[in-house]
């Protein structure tokens, strides 16, 4: 197929031909084309189907505001739905398919819905599908959902990668049209750090679409010259294919740079980059968007915006039709007629809703001043237009201009409201702009060329002055203002046929009137009831018309009727880009323990605990079920000795003259009198009296403590301690620093723990029970002089120690412990065995420290000292936290020992029904106890500590279990604690 509608001129590179397909058809275009321009050049007018009625639709615009020409780009996992053909750059091998039709684009079976449109008016679905009730889920909703959406995702993982980044500048210039280039040149020449970003792949904006002159050269040449000058400046960063999509607080802008979307493949590089731009000042030069006029069947392929028609002809050398008619309410439509006529395209008619003299002489064109288009004819595209005066005029393209709306979107991202300008019949930026933002050019209502250039310069100079930089922008550029008269005209009242406003969502003028009739009159009601402006183009071409029609209905002015609130993003942003690298295993960093590599070598199974990856158990080749491994690790530890990497516990180094006093205020129990060389268990409350964290704190010196926290709470506890230190007790001399990562720490537990450690601890250090009793701590040396810390603490209930060495020795120490432990059959144990042993000892952990449990609930109420102030003590005395029937942490055994307990079961008294009113608590942690040979659990039950021996039901409805359990002490093993004191 030849490019039948390709004309001369333009900014496409005819020396190269690009092959592409549309719905499987092979077509050609050139570098510089968009998919839309190439399709038009190939005579392809119809490009898609609308959402609701499956109406045939062609391209309406030449930019990112396009509502109709949405295609599915690429194939397979690269398939990209809802891509605007108007901004998709052509590349060799591009494959696009149209969307939202069953059967081919031309013969869409779903077109039948258009025949029933009278029953499908705005909001019809709110009024029906209610009977019979069961039909909603079985019949109506499936049908509605089946017709949902436009494009389709592949369902496969996005194969491309994305990146993010941070940029900083004095001045961000948003938009590289005449105003933006002028602003950037001024600031760049003055030495400011400038970023100039434009969503297009060429700088110049409308200069590339028009035939204007700047500095006595074609506008597009001037834009190219400006680009070259800016490129040469070190202080300027030029970003094409970059949409500044959102204005956030304090001068931060979000921008999306499309890196490889214009290439056949991204070659392993990021497809798009999401930039966070930190600007001191910004100038918004986002231009303006043309709006249509509503009249009957104004949605047929071939009906386009006049500025777009001009852009296709001037920039892309693609004539949107062979016989073009123009319908306008302003001088701009005439420029379309002149430019196309000059390019050799037949202009069949110019219909201007204004009275008066024709604004130009267009050879061969019928001119209808004060005329209006009432309807269009043609099935898959227009053939002719009907005027209100009855005339029919042949045209295969109708260029419509209803005036221009300044692109004020970013001015409203911080909820600023635009202001109405009657002379432009448009909204312009209001007073309450985001801090640091100025607006220039068409975006500010300066819709003509010379005005845009000078506004860009002026806004830039003002920003430079604010920043203390002397403006030094060089000579004024020379250009003239074009004619730009307009008389507001919104829709042709005489039209009987449906007049379309939101073309993607199929919202018509009648729908707006219906919304008014039914009292959905606020702009927000209108939008929500009719779905106007809710499509992928966000109503950029539709909203003003609807507002104007609603204003007519209510008898109010347009500004009284309302404005739309603009929210980010300006144009839609790929989810992949917003996520950047944070996907799969890179979603968040991993923290690894010092023995990680060793554990990997042992074939350990790892578990994620917060950011950490910890060994969960160490399977041996003959073990087929995780329980076998875990039971063996527990038995090995309790029988002889086991080693577990406990580095993940938070460690906080606390020093200062008042360190002891500080801890005394932080923990519920006393720390002031803890002796040097001793460790104490401490419980910390939140100010509301609930348990926050627990752990042990060792006193290494008069003014030096080391605290351990739970793995999960290391960060929050440190933050809390800094709050207490800086905000509550600033008089205390105490300093904090985390040493979590600095020390590799291993629990060595079991009856042979001491014997094993005696083989590594240097002989001058006596760690016998007499010299180093339970809860002792010391700084000593091991393995011939390596500094270490030893703590005699136990989580397992066995004779146990925790030994810490600088993290660099962690891997080595683990290997040494395993080697010296061989004679004791030492076992490494993971978090699972750790959990088994702590449940056997009745120690609370994460499942019990839920933030909903108090010291009393945990059975530690008596630890809360009444003799001193500490965080949480006052509010822990509130009456409902001290009820007689409060929850207590106790142990549970199945009455029938072969039964397995389940965590999350609720307790119900025997003989009572399983309903919430009878709920007495829940099982928080369970395990199989290898030592006892049956399942055990700990949990919270009302008055638990007074009910030992009682039998209740553990009801686990979600697992279909309901068993009898006996309430017992939570200390299943060695309740007197003899083992850990030997």
């Amino acid at each position: 197929m030849t490019q039948t509608n390709r004309i001369s001129g333009g900014l496409v590179d005819r020396s190269k031909t690009l092959n592409f397909t549309f719905n499987g058809k092979n077509l050609q275009g050139h570098p510089g084309d968009t998919l839309a321009s190439a399709l038009l050049a190939n005579g392809q007018r119809m490009m898609g189907r609308s959402f609701k009625y499956h109406r045939p639709r062609g391209v309406l615009t030449a930019g990112s505001e396009e509502p109709n020409a949405l295609v599915q780009l690429r194939a397979g996992a690269h398939q990209e739905p809802n891509t605007r053909a108007t901004v998709a750059e052509l590349f060799d091998g591009l494959a696009a398919t149209s969307q939202n039709h069953r059967g081919s684009l031309e013969t869409d079976l779903m077109e039948v819905t258009d025949l029933f449109s009278r029953f499908l008016s705005a909001g019809f679905y709110y009024k029906t599908f209610m009977w019979p009730k069961s039909f909603w889920e079985k019949v109506y909703e499936p049908i509605i959902r089946h017709s949902a959406g436009l494009g389709r995702l592949s369902g496969q993982e996005d194969p491309d990668i994305y990146d993010k980044g941070f940029l900083h500048c004095d001045l961000l210039v948003i938009g590289g049209g005449p105003a933006g280039l002028s602003a950037a040149l001024t600031a760049g020449r003055s030495g400011a750090r400038v970023i100039l970003a434009d969503e297009d792949f060429l700088f110049g904006g409308r200069l590339n679409a028009e035939t204007f002159e700047v500095d006595a050269m074609p506008g597009s040449d001037w834009a190219e010259r400006a680009r070259a000058e800016l490129t040469a400046m070190d202080n300027v960063r030029l970003m094409t294919r970059t949409t500044v999509y959102g204005a956030y607080d304090h001068g931060i802008y979000g921008a999306l740079e499309r890196m490889t979307d214009h290439l056949p493949t991204s070659s392993g590089k990021p497809r798009q980059i999401l930039w966070r731009i930190y600007s001191k000042r910004a100038v918004l030069c986002a231009g303006a968007t043309e709006r249509p006029i509503a009249f009957g069947n104004n949605d047929r392929p071939g009906v386009m915006l006049a500025g777009a028609v001009r852009a296709y002809a001037n920039r892309w050398a693609a004539a949107p039709g062979k016989r073009v008619a123009v319908f306008t309410n302003n001088d701009d439509g005439w420029r379309t007629a002149s430019d196309l006529s000059r390019a050799g395209v037949t202009i069949s008619a110019i219909i201007d809703s204004r009275d008066g003299e024709p604004r130009a002489q267009i050879p061969g064109a019928t001119v209808a001043m004060g005329g209006r288009v009432m309807d269009t004819c043609g099935r898959k595209g227009i053939r002719s237009i009907k005027l209100v005066d009855g005339r029919t005029i042949d045209a295969d393209c109708l260029a419509v201009s209803g005036g221009w709306n300044p692109n004020v979107h970013l001015t409203g991202h911080q909820r600023g409201r635009p202001a109405w300008r009657e002379d432009l019949a448009a909204f312009v930026p209001g007073e309450d702009l985001p801090a640091g933002m100025a607006v220039a050019g068409a975006a500010n209502g300066a819709l003509t060329l010379a005005a845009a250039l000078s506004e860009g310069r002026a806004a830039s100079e003002k920003a430079l002055n604010d920043l203390g930089i002397s403006p030094n922008g060089g000579d004024m550029v020379k250009a003239e203002d074009e004619a730009a008269d307009i008389t507001a005209f919104w829709h042709v009242g005489e039209s009987k046929a449906r007049a379309w406003l939101d073309q993607q969502n199929d919202v018509t003028a009648k729908d707006v009137k219906l919304a008014h009739r039914e009292s959905y009159r606020s702009v927000e009601h209108l939008k929500r009831y009719t779905t106007l402006g809710m499509a992928t183009d966000q109503g950029k071409t539709a909203n003003m018309l609807a507002l104007a029609i609603m204003a007519e209905c209510t008898g109010k002015t347009i500004p009284e009727t309302g404005t739309t609130i603009f929210r980010p993003p300006y144009t839609p942003i790929a989810m992949g880009a917003l996520a950047g690298r944070a996907r799969g295993k890179d979603f968040r960093p991993y923290r690894l323990t010092p023995s990680h590599k060793w554990a990997e070598e042992q074939g350990a199974v790892f578990v994620t605990t917060g950011m950490w990856l910890r060994a969960q158990w160490f399977p041996r080749p003959d073990e087929t079920h995780w329980r076998e491994s875990v039971d063996r690790e527990v038995a090995g530890t309790r029988g002889s000795v086991g080693v577990c990497d406990v580095t993940t516990l938070g460690k906080i180094d606390i020093q200062g003259r008042d360190a002891a006093e500080f801890l005394n205020k932080l923990y519920v129990n006393g720390f002031a009198k803890l002796a040097v060389g001793k460790v104490r268990y401490g419980l910390m409350l939140r100010e509301d009296g609930m348990a926050m964290d627990d752990g042990t704190t060792a006193r290494l010196g008069e003014h030096h403590f080391v605290m351990t926290t739970t793995t999960a709470n290391a960060g929050p506890v440190f933050r809390h301690m800094e709050f207490c230190r800086q905000c509550l007790w600033p008089e205390l001399d105490v300093n904090l620093i985390s040493t979590t990562d600095g020390w590799a720490q291993f629990a060595v537990a079991g009856p042979n723990a001491r014997k094993l450690l005696q083989k590594v601890v240097d002989p001058e250090h006596d760690i016998t029970n007499e010299a180093f009793p339970f809860m002792a701590c010391a700084e000593l040396t091991i393995c011939g002089g390596t500094k270490a810390r030893l703590f005699r603490i136990s989580f397992s209930g066995e004779l146990a120690f925790e030994i810490a060495v600088p993290a660099r020795y962690g891997d080595s120490l683990m290997r040494v412990l395993m080697a010296v432990g061989e004679e004791f059959d030492v076992v490494p144990y993971g978090t699972e065995a750790l959990g088994v042993m702590r449940i056997e000892k009745g120690h609370a952990a994460g499942n019990e420290l839920t933030g909903q449990t108090s010291a009393a609930n945990l059975g530690m109420g008596r630890m809360v000292s009444k003799k001193k102030d500490c965080i949480g003590n006052t509010l822990s005395e509130r009456p409902d936290l001290n009820r007689d029937d409060g929850l207590r942490l106790v142990g549970f055994k199945p009455v029938n020992r072969v039964e397995t307990l389940t965590s999350g079961a609720h307790f119900i008294a025997l003989g009572k029904s399983a309903v919430m009113d009878n709920d007495e608590g829940w099982m928080s942690s369970v395990t199989f106890s290898p030592e006892l040979g049956h399942s055990i659990g700990i949990g919270f039950i009302k008055q638990g500590s007074e009910r030992l021996g009682e039998v209740v039901r553990a009801v686990d409805l979600v697992r279909g279990k309901d068993i009898e359990v006996e309430i017992v002490s939570a200390h299943f093993i060695d309740p007197e604690g003899e083992r850990l004191r030997v």
Partner: protein, 416 residues
């Protein structure tokens, strides 16, 4: 006029010219039995149930903006009753039951779509917590299914099971959970209340309370004083500002929650899915857009807009669990102001001022509560005693130490 399929056909055949206004636009009367401040979901529902269930029809609902402009107009449309604590679960299950009959009740199709809600778990402790919660739900008469990883895979094969930073270990599924067309809820209640004689007065701002000897006698508004025997305030998001006019300080902070929608896509997701190791939840609307959200921005604000870090955080969570959504585009974001309470649970209570009643503190769970909140507030206003499912939602509960803290994070509103 009542709505039905036949009406739609008849009107279609006759040019759709016979549809009547869904509600009147009355001028305020000098006095009412009850004034409800705030024509959001909860306020309109309260008015509807006052009229329909409690026979109190001399009611005005006063709204600063347009009806439905509160958080009922800016949320992620999810309904569920998957709560843990006894103070909450019966209330939300009551709400769920009201949702299930709502459309027939108020003759408006709000598209209650019970396609289920799935909360993913990523660790054993999380699974244990879900089991505990699922059992709470079942004890309260709600539905809950505990799934293992295979069960989740069957339901949502597109989730990242192979390469996840936080592997999916299972989930809890409430089949009756789902989504509701949020604006239609406001409109349905408004129309239902209006039909029963309630005056809905839009564009009327409450500027103060009429007080006489410590008793609330009505409200001062931008359209003049309006007196009432009882005034109920249901202005979540603005509770702090409005109740300050009555001299009250509240256990509430105002925060912004952002929400997002993508471009429309052909059907992809079965129901609502929430990520258990990041901040992301998502459903697909009847129009095809993925509607999603995450955490609040985390700082006090009354500005209905958020910032970029949370947008990124939420999308990161999305890509982490369903990397197939990389090439769909985020279309629109918005922010709603939340009353974040001190324990994450709401208040429906009389205040210490006679005649003044308060409904608020919904955190970001207000939408799903709409029917029950309205019903229980109407109950309280009509009978001066709390509805049996809302007995714990008292303003003085922190004095007694009866927190209803689902997340267990304590008195820090931005963490709930």
């Amino acid at each position: 006029m009542s709505y039905s399929g036949w009406k739609v056909i008849w009107q279609g055949l006759t040019g759709n010219t016979g549809w009547k206004p869904a509600w009147r636009e009355p001028d305020p009367k000098a006095a009412y039995d009850v004034i409800i401040v705030g024509a959001g979901g909860h306020g309109l529902a309260a008015a509807y149930y006052l009229a329909k269930e409690f026979g109190v029809t001399n009611v005005a609902v006063i709204e600063k903006g347009w009806l439905g402009s509160g958080n009922v107009g800016r949320n992620t449309t999810i309904v569920r009753s998957n709560y843990l604590l006894p103070g909450n679960e019966p209330f939300y299950e009551f709400s769920m039951k009201l949702w299930e009959g709502l459309e027939q009740d108020f003759n408006y199709n709000a598209m209650v779509s019970q396609r289920g809600i799935l909360n993913l778990s990523h660790s054993d402790p999380q699974r244990d917590a879900f089991a505990r919660r699922g059992n709470s739900m079942r004890l309260a008469g709600a539905d809950a299914v505990l799934l293992d990883a295979d069960g989740v895979r069957q339901m949502c094969p597109f989730l990242d099971f192979e390469n996840a930073r936080f592997p999916i270990t299972g989930g809890i599924w409430q089949p009756r959970g789902g989504t509701v067309r949020h604006d239609a809820v406001a409109w349905g209640y408004a129309r239902g209340a209006d039909m029963r004689g309630v005056d809905i007065i839009q564009n009327c701002e409450v500027t103060g309370f009429i007080m006489d000897k410590g008793v609330c006698m009505g409200v001062e508004t931008s359209r003049g004083d309006i007196r009432a025997k009882k005034v109920g305030v249901a202005v979540a998001g603005s509770s702090g500002r409005v109740m300050a006019k009555a001299g009250m300080r509240l256990p509430i902070e105002s925060h912004v929650l952002q929400a997002f929608v993508t471009e429309g896509l052909k059907p992809l997701l079965p129901g609502v899915i929430t990520f258990g190791a990041g901040h992301f939840y998502v459903s697909q609307s009847d129009k095809g857009g993925l509607v999603f959200g995450g955490d609040i921005d985390g700082y006090n604000t009354y500005a209905q807009r958020g910032n970029l870090p949370v947008v990124e955080d939420v999308c990161e969570g999305g890509m982490a669990i369903m990397p197939m959504i990389g090439r769909t585009r985020l279309l629109r974001s918005w922010g709603g102001i939340m009353d974040m309470s001190m324990d994450g649970s709401p208040y429906i209570d009389k205040t210490h001022i006679d005649g003044l009643y308060f409904n608020g503190g919904w955190c970001y769970g207000g939408f799903k509560a709409t029917p029950a909140s309205g019903f229980c507030f109407a109950h309280l206003l009509a009978r001066d005693e709390p509805h049996p499912t809302a007995t714990e939602y008292r303003l003085n509960r922190f004095r007694r130490g009866t927190m209803i803290d689902e997340k267990g994070v304590g008195a820090q509103p931005n963490l709930h």
